[in-house]
């Protein structure tokens, strides 16, 4: 899918690669600082999302930077942005796991992401999957079904769905999330039986 055309970003992946290479050559921490700075916002929001606390997130960002210093020379990095995201997310999850004092964030709240569904070239197979999908969609609880239908098939945004159904924004999000998961489980089950 294509991302909304708005490519104004501080660094491009090429810049990242260049900075990573130059840092590895020189060991100049300021280069790494520049590199990290460009992604700091992303790292911060990710921390925020998992830790749910501004102060903790700030600390976590700095810890992630230290981790970056430690790891950047040890790992092969294909795309720095994605790599840093995974690093950050893992760091936050580790923190959540170790910090017993932290408020519990139930795993249900976390979004699950499916592996990209393999592209079936075969038209028949595709047809089969579509019917399976329809069948599964019918099996979903009403609220999930409605939300998923509006979001994925009619391409409405959360806000519109909330207005149309009367659910709250958070309900809409969780219905879509859970509906998606149930759909996937259903699809896998039906695929397994065939």
């Amino acid at each position: 899918m294509k991302w909304l055309g708005n490519p104004e970003r501080k660094t491009t992946p090429e810049d990242d690669d260049l900075l990573v290479r130059r840092y590895r050559e020189t060991g100049d921490l300021s280069l790494l600082g520049r590199l990290f700075d460009a992604h700091a916002e992303m790292v911060y929001y990710v921390c925020m999302r998992y830790l749910q606390d501004g102060e903790r997130s700030k600390d976590a960002v700095m810890e992630i930077f230290e981790e970056l210093v430690h790891k950047i020379n040890k790992q092969e990095i294909q795309r720095f942005g994605s790599w840093l995201y995974v690093l950050s997310k893992n760091h936050c999850l580790m923190k959540l796991r170790s910090g017993k004092k932290m408020q519990q964030v139930s795993m249900d709240e976390f979004v699950e992401f499916p592996m990209p569904v393999h592209q079936g070239d075969d038209a028949a197979e595709k047809e089969q999957r579509l019917t399976a999908l329809e069948r599964c969609l019918e099996k979903l609880p009403e609220k999930q079904k409605r939300s998923v239908d509006l979001f994925f098939l009619q391409e409405r945004c959360y806000k519109e769905i909330a207005e149309a159904t009367g659910y709250s924004m958070n309900e809409v999000k969780s219905y879509i999330q859970n509906g998606k998961r149930n759909l996937r489980l259903c699809m896998e089950a039906s695929h397994g039986t065939e």
């Binding site: 294509k2 300021s30 600082g33 700091a40 916002e41 999302r49 700030k58 942005g81």
Partner: protein, 427 residues
Amino acid sequence: MERNKVDIEQVKRYVRGELSPREMHALERRAQDDPMLMDIVLGMELAEQGVHAANLADIRARIGRRTGGGRVRRLSTAQRWAVAASVLLAVTVSTVWFLRDDVQAPNELAVAPPVADERPIPSAAPERSEEAAQEPSAAEAPARAASRGDAQGATAGGQPRAAAADRLAVATEPQRETEAADETRVEAYAPQPKRLQEAEMARVAADEPTLKAEVREGLAANAAGVQVAERLSGQAAGITIRGTSASRMRPIKGKVLDSETQRPLPGAVLRLAGDTTVTTDAEGVFTISGQADLRDVALLGYELDAVQIAGKDTIVLAMAPIDLSLDEVVVVGYGRAKRQKASEPEPAVGWRAYNRYLKGGMRQADGPKGTVTLAFTVDGKGRPTDIRVLSSTNEALNDPAIRLVQQGADWLPGKNGERTAELKMRF
């Protein structure tokens, strides 16, 4: 596919609700497949954008400090220290010069030469030779020493401020003093009289060479002061005036003694400024660099009693024993520790005696040879009961073995209350 390009500005607009439903859906749809985008959206929704902006500014500052800016920061700390040090030095120099200037006054009156005339040093040379007769070291040295003595002389003259000069001591060796003529460095250690510090620094602003010449002139006129200076040198240093940097670094030696027995105390730990420590050697002697500031002395069982300054650069620290001691600990070695598995019952008489008993018993039952392993339970009275044969190489030995244990000493249960034991007997 530009999947990992997350446009944070777009997300911000989304969170602010500035996007059209189409754009919102596009972003939401994309977030369904892009965990990074999803996390960013969810993270951003958790607080006001102003809060995020403040947090991000803080993070940027921290990164800056951690990477490039950190070095600048550290340097500036060093600079601050340098400034502090130079201010201290300036205050000290001016204080001391002011003092000298002050006590100088009567001599100036006596000699009464205008400043311009004082400048040429050779004019003072013949007078200095008088002092040279008194102290056979380099010609310049007495001159310096005399400067202190001069101060003393002035004290006798009744100058109130010069009383402070009592605390002055010359702590330099003559050969070093020869260098001092070129450059005078003044350093202050410890207790300076307050009223000296409040002295008008402006008065001291006079240029150095002139003052030096003045001092020399003055000294030469008052040769008697030399002895006073020598007497003074043994006293506790309040202000120490030293020669060049070479003498500045001269180490200070000291000794730590037991104040009761006067015996040296090895192993005493001296804590210096900056968290460095020095430990006394077997003779109780320590050496610290001249610059170091002694903070504390510690030795187990002692506390600091008195500090004596002995000589120019030697300190004696007397420590008094204190009545603090640890309880005695008796360490006993066990010869047969291996046999005694702590968790198993053991004979009340000990293994040694019990083994002797068994050996005696087994000899009595002479005849067949073999090994019998018994298992039994120690009852509440310590008697072995429920004796069973676990293994035996000679059936005929079973009964004698059981009888031996039955008739033998009492048993103590194991440390954790274990009551079952095994015993291997070799006949």
